[in-house]
Symmetry: C2
Subunit: 442 residues, 2 copies
Amino acid sequence: MSRPKPLSGFPELTPQERIVEQLVLDRLRETFELHGFGSIETRSVEPLDRLAKQGEIDKEVYAVQRVAAEPGTPAELGLHFDLTVPFARYVLEHAHELAFPFRRYQIQKVWRGERPQEGRYREFTQADIDIVDAGTLAAHHDVELPLVTLGALDRLHVDLGLPPVLMRVNNRRLSEGFYRGLDIADPAAVLRQVDKLDKIGPERVTEVLVSDSGVSLAQARSVVQLAQISAPDESFVDEVHRLGVHSDELDEGLELLAAVVRAARTHVPGRLVADLKIARGLDYYTGTVYETELVGYESWGSISSGGRYESLATDGRTTYPGVGLSIGVTRLLAPLLGRKVLQPTRSVPTAVLVAVESEETRSSAVAVAEALRARGIPTEVAPKADRFGRQIRYADRRGIPYVWFGPAASSEVKDIRTGEQLPADPDRWNPPAADLHPQVRS
Amino acid sequence: MSRPKPLSGFPELTPQERIVEQLVLDRLRETFELHGFGSIETRSVEPLDRLAKQGEIDKEVYAVQRVAAEPGTPAELGLHFDLTVPFARYVLEHAHELAFPFRRYQIQKVWRGERPQEGRYREFTQADIDIVDAGTLAAHHDVELPLVTLGALDRLHVDLGLPPVLMRVNNRRLSEGFYRGLDIADPAAVLRQVDKLDKIGPERVTEVLVSDSGVSLAQARSVVQLAQISAPDESFVDEVHRLGVHSDELDEGLELLAAVVRAARTHVPGRLVADLKIARGLDYYTGTVYETELVGYESWGSISSGGRYESLATDGRTTYPGVGLSIGVTRLLAPLLGRKVLQPTRSVPTAVLVAVESEETRSSAVAVAEALRARGIPTEVAPKADRFGRQIRYADRRGIPYVWFGPAASSEVKDIRTGEQLPADPDRWNPPAADLHPQVRS
């Protein structure tokens, strides 16, 4: 077997890069659980007829079928392409075993048969949080979700050195209420054009609105003025009022969005703005919508998106509304790892390598290692009773900071970074906290 | 959309069951990292021609192909059915980025299109540890691996109440050396019959050896006598010697197996026996082989297996020998969860529910929650300003042990299991350690 080639679109991390990913996933999980979100995992496959109803994405679904299936048998299963479709199915299937409102997080791989290019993957990891209720879901959860997500992303920034983020939030009721206040008949069509604002600019959007969406020039100008409003505080409410458009739905949307901005200013200052051009492509969003960019890497697009959906799932009798946010873990990490922006302090979990003087004394080295592990210190025993210089090189190549010499009764431990070597007792010695586990240096 | 039906063979856990699984996976990871194993994940798919060379398993491979692929195009990718084949490929592909000997653990889902039945799944989680080296791999790693695995499984027993385990170990060099000492021409053919000893019994194996494997009755009797030797200590060596067969390979195998048994008696007493009938089906094992049963649930078969392979992978110039053990996490857990042998102390991560007196004071409840979370206490704010009785019921239904009343300045916290309610400061109060996170009760 010659050296295999990577499969385009299926990124695979080195052990070093994986350490960074684990630290990121651990922080996300910890934040989610601190806020009372429980973990679920759904199976990787769904019936194809459930996956292939979602529009554009259909082409990208991967079908799954046993190699031994009768030739010509149509595939029945496909790999999930996000965590929302399977979650909706999970809620319906397990509703009788769940307590509502149900708060869950889900960290799993998803698959899309996209054309591979930077920032697009065929297999990648997402981390989703959602709150769903049966019947109605309180509006304060629209305020809560971005605080949890921004709290999680801020820990990645502060603890691990990832770039800071900025979340842009809008509310579809606000936009659609405004359009209705302008007597626009098809608000959804208008929203689709507004979504292109960043790409084609305000003049072109105005033109397209008039030519394609059956909107007058005056209406189009108001629509574009609304979309250009953005503020880190509640001042956006007055700006909207100054456009002189009124409707109950608009007021409701303004109030909901103001509550999000207000809470964010208290809890995650500087990380969230109201941005009235945010539309989000997916049709199932019905209220608040969220998008998040990495500050300094805006061209990578949104690394965390989501929104409110009045009907995540329904079984005909009960409707389950929800609000959710998804973090694109691979999308966020793969380019930072590829550019070596984030690197671990070592390539293995090991804090101590116990040197072996001869194969005959290996068991006393194993005993030292056991004593250290019993107190939570990750420890390896040297694989070969080489000259000590070579054993130190073994540690050095992996970034293991300490090498241990001698049996328990007469031990010394060497910090191979400084060369300092001191007597130590395997039942008492502790490395400094920063050396116990790998850290990220950025 | 009506209530969806489960897909047979694709088990999906409830949030409660998932809490148990997370605790199990956390313990495994912690033990592996304490022994210096680093995590990797491989992509879920491999080229089909790499997967479909492994004999029996071929029929069970799932092919993966874009729904939008041209009809009639043959699939090129398949889902991996274990973690060894992808690991071998990973070692070859990334050899230039790895330091050898390379110690890795890998916890991922695998897929097999088996006929679903109890204990057989189409999607399931495995936890593998392997050590591979370039060129040659020291024999002491054959001793180390079962100690790590048994240490991990013993923590599941002691900390989480899973049943204890018993690992059965043999060495193929021992068996094959013995057969060669008997002048048996095709040791592999004999080994395949010996593998049936538990199923069909010693008489039948003797018969089949004579009728199908070209072995004399005297040879067959010796073979079966060897296979019936089993001991928790080194006494098996003398038992083998008493059979009066000699070869260098046999002596080598005896010494290697004795070293495993000796170390296990010191480090994990009572958990490992030499059992000379263990053969393991897979042809790539060349030395030590391991199988592990749950005590009291022996009929479930092996929940952790593995062995030494002289050539895990080769690129033509370098050969990579390895030794590995795989824990069948789903195989181990799904039946224990299904029988309610293991249950979590609560169904959510939340330790404290902060009650909300009215929607107007929600922000002061949020402030209390933030203070608790800042000190690592998982906290939810009640979703609705209901009567307190209802809010307590919300906590009770989820097993949340504490409900918090009042703003920070005049707070009280109630243990809803005992009814005890005491004044508390959100910047100082701590729950007992056992209440901080969900535990397993068995």
